[in-house]
Every structure is written in C-alpha cells, then in structure tokens.
C-alpha cells in the first residue's frame, strides 16, 4: 500500500503535519512531531531512490486521473536524487534545531516556526516530485511564502527587511515563471512535463515559445540566486535564524537548480536550448559569479554573510556546469548540488553553534574560539577544506568533474576561473581559520564552553559526510550520471 503511494506520501505527510504542529502548545511537542515527520520523509525518500534505481521510473497519477489530464508525479533518477538531498538535510537539521531554535526564537512562536518549516519542506519536496509545471509553480510558492515567514523570525529586526527584500525578488521570479508557464500552456494546451516535451518540438519556431523560455529561465534564475540576481540572498541568509539559513542554503537553491535543469532539459530540450544563447549566458554569469561573489566573501565581517556570498559563488559553479551543455558538465552540476549541501550545511551549523555560545556571528568574535570549541570548529575546518575542494573531500569530486568538463571543451579560461575560485575560497576560509585557531580568546570570553552534543552531532555527521563522499562516490557520481543519461534521452 505504502509502496504504491510512496511518492505522494512524501508530500502529504508534512502537509498534514503542518497545521497540527501550528496548534500544538509551545514546548518541545512541535519539534518532536517535525522531527518524526522529517525522518519519515528521509526514509521514504531513500526508499523511493532505491525503487527508482531497481525498478525504473515511477509514475503516480494523482487522484487516479490519468496523465496528461491529471497531475502526474513522475520520479526518475534526478528527482529521487534531489528529493533525497532535501529530505536528508531536513532530517539532519532537526536534531540541531531543538537548542538552536530555543535560543533564537521566542517560545510562543516556536510552534509557528516548525509549522512554517514543515510547509517549506513540503514545498521543496513537492517541486521535486511533481511532473506538472503548474503544480511545480504552486509548490514553489508554498516553499517561498513559508521561507519568507521563516526568515522574518530572525533575531534582529533587520530580518524583517531581509524577508521583505526576498519577498519582492521571489515574487518577481515566481511571476516570471508563471508567465512563462502560461505562454507554453497557450501554445500546447498541456502542463504535463513529458507531454510538453512531446508537443513543444512542433512549435519550437514560434516566438511565443522563445519568450516563454526566457521568462522561465530568468524567473528560476532569480530563485536560484544566479549572479547578478542574487541580491536577496546575503541578507536573507545572514538575518534568518540559523536553522533556516542552513536549511535554505543546503536545499532551496539546490531545488531551484533542479527546476532549471528540469525545465531546460525535460520540458524544452537540449537541442532547443543549444539554439538559444542560454549556454553563453550561463557561462558568462557563472564565471562572473564565481569570481565576484567569492571576492565579496573575503571582505565580509559577519561569518554568516561570508558563507552566504560563498553560496552565491558555489551556485555559479553549478551554472557553469549547466552552461557547458555537456554530459560531463551536467554531471558536475548534479554532484556539486549534493556536495555543496553537505559542506554549507556543516559550515552554517558550526556558525550556529557559535551564535548559541557567544551570541554573535561576527568574524572578530571568532577569536580563539577554535581552542575553546575545538570539536565545533574542527568540523567547520573539515567542511571548509571541502568548500575549497582539497582532495579527499567531497568538494574535490565536484571540482574534478567541473574542470574536466571545461577541459573537454578546451574552455581553458573557465578551467582557470574554477580553480581561481578555489583559491579565493582558500583566502576567505583561511581568514577564519587564522582567527579561530591562532589568535588568543577575547578578554571577555575566557570561559566559552564547547557546544552541546545536540548541536555537535549533526555538524559532525555532515562534516564526516564531506570526507566520506570524497572517497566513495557511488551514490553521488553514479546517480548523477544515471540522471544525466536519462535527461539526454528524453531531451532528444
């Protein structure tokens, strides 16, 4: 029974739990329910991936309405892979959330927080699961609206302006996406992705379709914070509660990258996008993003903001991978999707532990914390090495494929830019490492204690995952390659 409704359950469970959590009394109840739900989601996502690998693509007709008339959930290697990332990060964030949220959010708002968190999780999972473009838009709005609410719950009042800024930008993005979807619906009369894929080639010459494509790409680029449409991101990540920063950094932009890949390769097709200047745009913006955002990161005085800029840079790597327009490049993007979730998750968690103990995320307040909180910041250090892309870490695998993709096309300048981005990452990570480990602690902070186990354990799970996936790439690379192969065939 469960097996046949697996794909829907992944979305429905958090949906049903969200209102329940909202009306629970303040205390640890909301957290516990959310924790159970997110772990169930992880189990289901893992199961789903296992089924996709073993039995092939799952097609689930919502409410028994046959596609293309009804909404179809169509799960292939790509969805299942991204769904697993989202569910896994949610499941790891929640044990961490307990103390962090208690510290950062007023008690009476905690049930609402977890309710919004569940809605956000539901939205993200829904985007990934659905095979219907309008349904995708609906889920995108659910996840966006809930994340505006989540961000606005930050400690400082500036969180409100950050959320508002994101709201405006996000709404513009969503509107663009909706316009694009409306246009292709007008052209083809269908909303099902596979159906669109079959019907669009007949009308590819139409200017309407080209316009739709442009609207969709720009709309999604706003959501994935592609440079220079990233302006909402640094503020949002800086002022949001830590759990939200880490959850969004590790999942929301990744899901947007997924949407981009899905739109370009499944709904339209590789051959269509090759006929547009999409690749060049991605390459150019990706290159600029890697350099400019990484450069900005160096000068940030707040650790969370530094990581936010670093995220913009890392997303630009994914854009580069798409821009190469090759199987190798797309593999690199998908592998980095996974690996970046691991590293950014761990980094934000460590900074969250710092906020928990010191009450600040300013770079100057990191002084000597490496010695006072050795476990937290050793994990931070490992994730930092992964971000730089040193061999033996997950980050190296991503960089390896990205540069190989660049070399394959003789795009030397991009190979150099990717490696230069790594070096900029060395600069901004080492700025922190030096302050953490080789400066004495501040006079007022002689007695800072190590973070509690509930914060440390999830941080270390992610840090060790960074090492593990640097050596065992069966899950990441193999899944990415399967997904790329699949995209290549439906794209033709």
């Amino acid at each position: 029974m469960i097996e046949s409704h697996l794909s829907l359950l992944l979305v429905v469970m958090p949906l049903l739990a969200a209102p329940v959590v909202a009306i629970l009394p303040a205390g640890r109840g909301p957290w516990l329910v959310t924790l159970v739900i997110s772990w169930l989601c992880l189990a289901l996502a893992g199961w789903q991936l296992w089924m996709v690998v073993n039995t092939g693509t799952i097609s689930y007709a919502l409410g028994g309405w046959e596609p293309p008339w009804g909404i179809e959930y169509r799960i292939d290697a790509l969805n299942a892979f991204v769904a697993l990332i989202v569910a896994a990060i949610a499941a790891i964030s929640l044990p961490y959330a307990l103390h962090s949220v208690e510290r950062e959010i007023p008690a009476q708002r905690v049930p609402l927080f977890y309710s919004a968190f569940l809605l956000c999780l539901l939205g993200l999972l829904g985007i990934v699961q659905t095979g219907d473009v309008f349904n995708l838009f609906v889920f995108l709005e659910i996840s966006s609206l809930s994340s505006y609410a989540l961000i606005s719950m930050g400690r400082e009042r500036r969180a409100l302006t950050a959320a508002f800024q994101y709201l405006i930008m996000g709404t513009i993005g969503a509107t663009f996406l909706l316009i694009g979807i409306g246009l292709i619906y007008a052209e083809t009369g269908t909303l099902n992705m596979l159906d669109l894929n079959a019907r669009l080639p007949a009308v590819l010459e139409h200017r309407t379709v080209h316009t739709a494509f442009a609207f969709i790409v720009v709309g999604v680029a706003l959501k994935l914070a592609l440079f220079p449409l990233h302006l909402w991101l640094p503020n949002a990540y800086t002022y949001a509660p830590t759990v939200v920063s880490l959850f969004l950094a590790a999942t929301a932009t990744k899901v947007a990258v997924y949407v981009m890949v899905r739109m370009v390769y499944t709904v339209f097709s590789n051959s269509f996008s090759q006929a547009t200047p999409l690749d060049e745009v991605f390459l150019l913006l990706g290159m600029a993003g890697v350099l400019v955002a990484s450069f900005y990161a160096i000068y940030q005085q707040d650790a969370k903001r530094l990581l936010a800029y670093s995220s913009v840079g890392q997303i630009a790597y994914m854009a580069l991978g798409i821009g190469f327009g090759s199987a190798l490049g797309l593999t690199a993007t998908l592998v980095h999707l996974f690996n970046h979730a691991l590293m950014k998750g761990a980094l934000f968690m460590a900074v969250g532990a710092m906020i928990y103990r010191v009450g600040s995320s300013r770079v100057n307040d990191l002084q000597g914390l490496g010695r006072q909180m050795p476990w937290t910041f050793t994990a931070f250090f490992i994730a930092g090495l992964s971000l730089i892309g040193l061999p033996g870490t997950a980050g190296f695998i991503s960089k390896w494929y990205l540069v190989l993709a660049a070399i394959e096309q003789q795009a030397w300048i991009f190979a150099i830019v990717i490696l230069a981005g790594s070096l900029l990452a060395v600069v901004y990570m080492w700025k922190l490492v030096e302050i953490l480990f080789f400066k004495g602690p501040d006079e007022h902070r002689q007695d800072v204690k190590e973070a509690p186990l509930a914060l440390l354990a999830p941080t270390w799970v992610l840090a060790l995952a960074n090492l593990y996936f640097g050596f065992d790439t069966r899950l990441t690379v193999d899944m990415a390659q399967t997904a790329v192969q699949m995209l290549g065939t439906t794209g033709r």
Partner: protein, 488 residues
C-alpha cells in the same frame, strides 16, 4: 604479515600515533612515549619493506576507488622506497631531538605540535608509496594542510604572516597549476598511473607536452623552484624540529620527489627529450641554484640562510632530473638522501644554538664553539657534506650530478654546479669557523652556556655520523637510485 598489509600499516601507524598523541596530551611523558614508539615502529616497518623489496618482491594495494579509473593505489617502487627510508629513519631521530628542543624552549601547544607532526609524516609516506598521480596529489595536499599549524605554531603576528605566505604559495601553485596539469593529463591519456616510459607519449603534441611539463614543475611548489620559493624562508618561523624534518626533508623532498616521479613515470625521459622543454626549463633550476646561494650569503639569520641553501640544493635535484640521463637521475635521487641527512644536521645545530645560547644570527656566534663543541663539530661535518667534499655522503650525489651534465654535454650547467659549491663554502663554513676561531665581543667567554639537551646532541651526532657512513656505504641508496634512474 603479508607485504600488502605491511605497506598499509607503515602509513597507518603515524596516523594512529597522531590519535594516540592527541588522547594522551595530558601526560607529556606518555605522549612523547607514543611519538617515539610510533616513529620506531614506522622505521622498523620501512626497513622490513625495504628487505622485501630487495628480495625482489613487488606489490601494490588498492585501498578504494573514489573515481572510476582513479583508485587510491599504493605500490613499492625504487624511488619511493628511497624516499620512505629517508623519512622513516629521520622521523625517529627528529622526534628524539624535538622532545629535547620543545621542552628546552618551553614551547606552547606541544600536543598539537606532535599530532600534526605525525600526520605530516604519515602523508609523506603516502606520497612515497603513491602508485598513481591522484594518490600522490592526495598526500601532497594533506601534507600542505597538516604542516600549516606547525608553521603558525607560535601564533604571533609574524608566525601568522609567515604561515599565510606558506599556505598561499603552496595551495596557490598546487591548485592553480598542478591540479590543472593533472586534469589535463587525465583528459589526454585517460589515466594517471605511473608507468615506465610515461603515459603521455603519443597522446599529445610535443610542444604542448612541454608546456604541460612546465605547468607541473612550477605547480609543484614544494620543490621551491624560483619564483615560487618564497614559502620556504617564510616557513622558518616554525619551531626548529619542523624546519629540520619538514622543511629540509619531508615537505621539500616531497616536492622534488613529485618532480622526479612526473618526469620519469608520467612523461618518460625519452618523450621529454623530444619536447625539448627541459633545454630552457633547466635554466630556471640553474638560476635558482646560483641566486638562492647568493641570497643565502646575505642572510645573517642562521635559519634563513639555511632555508635559502635548501632552495638552492633542491634545484640541484630538479636540474639532475631535467638532464634526462641515467647519471643525472641517479644523482638527483641520491641527492634526496644526502642532502636530507646533511641539512637536518645543520638545522639541528641551529636549533641547539637557539636553545642553549639563545642566538639566531651568524654574526653573534663568535667564540661560541668552545662552549658547544659537539654542536659546531657536527655542523662542520654537515656543511662539508653539503659542499660535496669527500669523505662525506654529499660527494656522491654531486659526483653523479656533475657526470650527468658531462654526459649531456651541458658544460655551462657543470660550471653552475662547481660555482655553487664555492658559494656553499662561502655561506656555510663561516658558521663553524666563527664559532671556533672567532673572538666573542668584549672577549666575553661563554662560561654559562652549555651544550643543548642530551637528546638533541644524540640526534645531531647520529645524523652527522650518517653523513660519514653514507660516503663509505652508499650501496642501499645507490642501488635504489640507479634502479629508479634506469627504470625509464
């Protein structure tokens, strides 16, 4: 024990030792005991591996395969065996020295120091036994990162600045150039295995191959070829045992070792000859030899002088590799050994002077020889070995390097080698000469200065004796060197 297990264990012991050191940090004597036991075990294991290697056993272990076609592979091969022997022997000696030095100098954070030291040695052994370029690069970068805390050890503004230069240049060259070169190699040949005769021959136009080789040579920043040598003097802010073992032996030798490996097993000497790249690249090595020697003469700080001397000596090895003939390659491989034993003795001496007399400048050493005769005697012996005079080990490597230039008909390079020997005399010998024959300022006799702690003295005597013994019995290393040189 099977040879494969032995090979893996030899690399695992330093890492296990690091964990042990970290856990026993609260009890300094136990902690130092763990260091010494790990170092001793590693030495015995390396000897055992060498014994099996000599019996003709050849073995390789694949640990795992992170990327398809790119396994983490370890194997025993002549050049790697030679490097592993040097690192294995000298770790024990240096540990002995370090215990005396760190306690005598009342250093802070000693646990971190010994942990990172053990990790560095572990990754050095991984480099030595690496069976492909991917594995080697993995060890290379772990070595870079694990030596950073040792350089920044003091935590002062100066130490942080030095460490920043250190890390910046080493990571900059390795990620910016070396990784790029590795990726290009992989894209061209589809493999990164070390093979006799190289993997690139026939895959790429000789002209481009030449540029790729240049990318490697400059990308291997640890080889300190000018203009990417600045990290080595900057690393001298580290405690002396670090400068002695890591920045005179393990790290820098890992650099030149990588150059040799790339030259012999990735490009292959014959293919490199076709490219003609070494004809001009060799002048960078020659220039580094002379320039670094000249700079060394201007340095009054003893460790800085030794650091530039190391830069210069490393380029001997690069020069030998680029001659692409058996004599040159033999000389290069031998110089890894000979320079290691001599230079570590010199650094031990510099550290002993610092601990016992608190002097860091050459100009302050006048008359100190009578108070510290053993220190300066060993310093003298090691200096002569660096210069290349018999009856000291350094004579052999210089001999073969010179032979190599003659065989290649590169008389100018021979001239550089000879001139450099003279420069060596000019910047090294003043140290012991001042100490023994110079007069202290105001005729003050150093009555209160004693020799460094006993464990330091033992270490210095051992390595100085080794310099002498290596002249009379260079066989084991000589055989390894010739077999590596003949492999192409």
């Amino acid at each position: 024990m099977t040879s494969e297990t032995l090979l893996l264990l030899a690399m695992a012991v330093p890492f296990a030792g690091a964990v042990g050191i970290g856990l026993t940090g609260r009890w300094p004597n136990v902690r130092e005991g763990v260091t010494l036991v790990s170092a001793g075990v590693v030495m015995i294991m390396v000897f055992a591996l060498f014994g099996r290697f000599q019996d003709g056993e050849r073995f390789a272990v694949t640990l795992m395969e992170p990327l398809p076609g790119l396994p983490i592979l370890f194997e025993i091969e002549a050049l790697g065996m030679l490097f592993a022997l040097v690192a294995g022997i000298l770790w024990l000696v240096t540990s002995l020295y370090a215990i005396g030095y760190m306690r005598g100098h009342h250093e802070q954070h000693q646990t971190r120091f010994y942990v990172m030291f053990a990790v560095s040695i572990g990754s050095t052994l991984a480099i030595a036994f690496a069976g492909n370029l991917f594995t080697l690069f993995l060890g290379y970068e772990i070595l870079t990162v694990s030596t950073y805390p040792l350089v920044a050890h003091a935590g002062t503004a100066e130490a942080r600045r030095g460490a920043r230069t250190y890390l910046g240049i080493l990571l900059g060259t390795s990620i910016g150039f070396q990784l790029l070169a590795i990726l290009i190699t992989y894209a061209l040949s589809g493999t990164l295995d070390f093979r006799d005769g190289g993997i690139l021959a026939g895959q790429v136009d000789p002209l481009w191959a030449g540029l790729l080789y240049a990318l490697y040579v400059f990308g291997i920043g640890k080889a300190a070829l000018m203009p990417f040598h600045r990290w080595l003097p900057a690393a001298m802010v580290a405690p002396t045992p670090v400068s002695a073992l890591l920045h005179a032996v393990a790290v820098v030798k890992a650099g030149v070792f990588t150059v040799l490996k790339v030259t012999i097993y990735v490009f292959g000497a014959d293919f490199l000859k076709d490219t003609g790249v070494t004809d001009w690249l060799v002048w960078f090595a020659g220039g580094t030899i002379l320039l670094a020697s000249l700079i060394a003469m201007t340095k009054d700080n003893l460790k800085a002088r030794l650091a530039y001397s190391t830069v210069s000596q490393l380029s001997y090895i690069i020069l030998g590799a680029m001659l692409l003939n058996p004599a040159g390659l033999t000389g290069s491989a031998l110089h890894i050994v000979m320079h290691a034993f001599a230079k570590i003795t010199l650094f031990f001496g510099a550290g002993a002077i610092l601990v016992a007399a608190h002097k860091t400048k050459v100009s302050e050493l006048n008359g100190l020889g009578r108070a510290m005769p053993i220190t300066f005697a060993t310093f003298m012996i090691a200096s002569l070995s660096i210069i290349g005079l018999p009856p000291l080990g350094g004579a052999w490597s210089k001999w073969f390097l010179a032979m190599g230039t003659v065989d290649a008909g590169r008389w100018a390079l021979l001239g550089i080698l000879m001139l450099s020997s003279l420069l060596n005399i000019a910047y090294l010998l003043p140290v012991p000469v001042r100490a023994f024959f110079g007069k202290a300022e105001n005729d003050a006799a150093y009555t209160r200065v004693r020799e460094a702690p006993a464990s330091c003295l033992v270490a210095m005597i051992v390595t100085a004796l080794a310099c002498v013994i290596l002249f009379f019995y260079p066989e084991p290393f000589y055989q390894l060197a010739t077999s590596a040189a003949g492999a192409q």
